[in-house]
Subunit: 385 residues, 2 copies
């Protein structure tokens, strides 16, 4: 096992009807800015439930944070807060809204160019406004971690930053809030959570028994409940398990003391930036192709994955490994997420721009061995056509 | 899945040589009291390593905190702190020292009778001195939770309290520090961690897929590494996995959203109080007998445990359940911890005093259904002779 540090102070409040707990966990005299995405937060009644729970506290709204939250939008929230003096933020939505609020919380009162919050990867964040979240879409794990991914449209950049200062103080997870989500968002959420686990698990063995067991437990849970979440949208236990699994997939726990990969995410980000695909769609395209390309480096762990997650007990190590990649692709397809560029009407014309974009963002040494260069990435993209 | 709240702000710093990180995580101008148990902390060099890491900070010692830490000892540390004005505590040792320091941290400046910290179960704790820990003995999980068990000799009481105020600020886990532990402490640690998982897992099914998977992962890890920890004391990865497993066994995570039992602990505490057996020895005596007694209530989950943890695939649900109890007993014996009163030269004369002691401590409604009364407890003790 590798050395590690683990710290995660976010309070999770989990269960049906828990939005009412806002009154307990938001400071009594706070001036609250509620940030959200599209109009669904209002239409589903979640927003008014939140407002009611805030009681007599002063609050205002900032809506319109988009999927792949944009700096250009968020900076308007920063302006509003600096002008009007809010002292507590409340993110109501999924990972995009929460990621956006993390940027806003850190950018308020940030000295100098606020885009540095992102470009310095969070290292120069010294304080942030306190904030909590009301999660409506299980997928990214942002509700219980210190990471955020922000897109700056004008620069064609989609970049991640991390800071202990942007852990949510609390996150309220009410599985019932997911009942009204469109199928596509559930599909995406399952794939996103699945790939989060894979990026922390499918590298090379370091005798981290517990981390492996936890990762395998999350993967098996997603394989079992993912299709059911599509079939029976109002099954409370299925949605509860999906919500908690997606949170644990990226709250830092399973990634301690083990090598991590994240190359699939990096290659996926460029597809979103250039062609606008959903984050999970890009992961579903890149991952099977990446695993096949990295068979030599990942074979031992792929075979373990085949055995423990997919129950494949026969065949050589290589045969098991290959079979597990097939089954992974089939699982994404079963979740109704296409795994090839062609499923999204994209052709080989995309390869060159994607490679150029990786180069522009200095994504030239990726993976757990930092040896995925542009040549390898080109093969991965090409194999995914 | 049941509703839940999860909060755990303890920072874990894990790995060989990490005691040097004290300089980073203890406040620069702190006046530190280092609390420890017997002389092993000094003899092994851990204490001087800690002192060196504290650099120019002012510090003093308080040694002699015993296994099953006693109020009578700890109150002397409280006096010393109130007189001499320490503002940061450092626990160096295992669960007993850490539990003791939690009491001390909460009792300093506690208004009124300090024993109330325990008898009010932590509910009246409003503040506590900040403290960190350097863990030398993997077992109790106290290094990453808010619980503590304190014994008051003169009242024959061993009672638990909990409070968010007594989470350690940080815990340093260096697996190498376990190399010099006596065999008995490793045996006890494995059994203790194992039973912690069992008490949160072996109740009745509530469709908590992830919690079950995590619990099963911890149990399988302990079954695999426990014997190896005895055979090859200086195998770093084995000790690292043991340390991290014992922490995760009782840091709150696997117990969220599921029913919990804890009756084995309660019946065990009385054995320690009256007859001085090690905590883990009492658990090894009570658990197999308790599981057999509770077969009707626990059968579904015992069968799941049999299948997923012990790999038993044939037989009826009841047969699987019974087999898993046998295997649990055999595992404790393999870990060199006796599972019957007779292994400790105790006879049926102990039953009456134990039942009286349970009654005196109001332990008359135990278990996940709160239906383990003194009649049931008597059967459990008797079956363990």
């Amino acid at each position: 096992m590798n050395n590690f540090e683990f710290y995660n102070p976010t309070r999770i409040i989990f269960g049906e009807g828990k939005i009412s707990e806002l009154d307990r966990v938001v400071p009594k005299n706070a001036k609250v800015l509620i940030l959200f995405g599209g109009e669904s937060a209002r239409k589903t009644g979640t927003l008014s439930e939140v407002e009611q729970a805030l009681g007599s506290r002063t609050f205002d709204h900032f809506g319109g944070i988009e999927a792949n939250p944009r700096y250009e939008t968020l900076i308007k929230a920063v302006d509003k807060i600096e002008k009007e003096g809010f002292d507590f933020l409340l993110a109501v939505g999924g990972g995009s809204v929460i990621d956006g609020v993390k940027f806003v919380a850190a950018a308020v009162n940030y000295p100098g160019d606020k885009w540095e919050v992102v470009t310095n990867r969070g290292a120069t964040i010294k304080t942030a406004l306190p904030f909590g979240t009301v999660l409506t879409l299980p997928a990214t794990g942002s509700e219980m971690n210190k990471g955020s991914v922000i897109t700056r449209e004008e620069l064609h950049s989609k970049l991640a930053f991390m800071s202990d200062h942007v852990f949510p103080q609390f996150s309220i997870l009410d599985p019932v809030k997911t009942y009204t989500l469109p199928t596509r968002q559930i599909s995406n959420g399952v794939v996103d959570a699945f790939v989060h686990v894979i990026e922390q698990y499918l590298t090379y063995p370091v005798n981290a028994y517990v981390q492996d067991a936890f990762a395998e437990g999350l993967l098996k849970t997603l394989i079992e409940i993912g299709p059911k979440a599509l079939e029976t949208p109002k099954d409370y236990d299925i949605r509860a398990n999906l919500m908690w699994t997606a949170t644990l997939a990226l709250n830092g726990l399973i990634g301690v003391g083990v090598p991590q990969d994240w190359s699939t995410h990096m290659l996926g980000h460029e597809i979103t930036v250039l062609y606008g695909l959903d984050h999970a769609q890009t992961l579903a395209i890149v991952l099977p192709s990446m695993l096949a390309e990295r068979l030599p480096q990942k074979q031992a762990k792929l075979a373990q994955y085949a055995e423990r997650v997919w129950g494949i007990t026969s065949g050589s190590e290589q045969e098991k490994a290959l079979k597990s990649i097939e089954l992974t692709r089939a699982f994404f397809e079963k979740m109704q997420v296409g795994t090839r560029f062609s499923d999204y009407q994209l052709t080989q014309d995309v390869i060159e721009p994607l490679i150029n974009s990786l180069a522009a963002h200095d994504m030239v040494k990726l993976g757990e061995h930092q040896d995925i260069d542009l040549v390898v990435s080109r093969r991965v993209y090409t194999a995914a056509l």
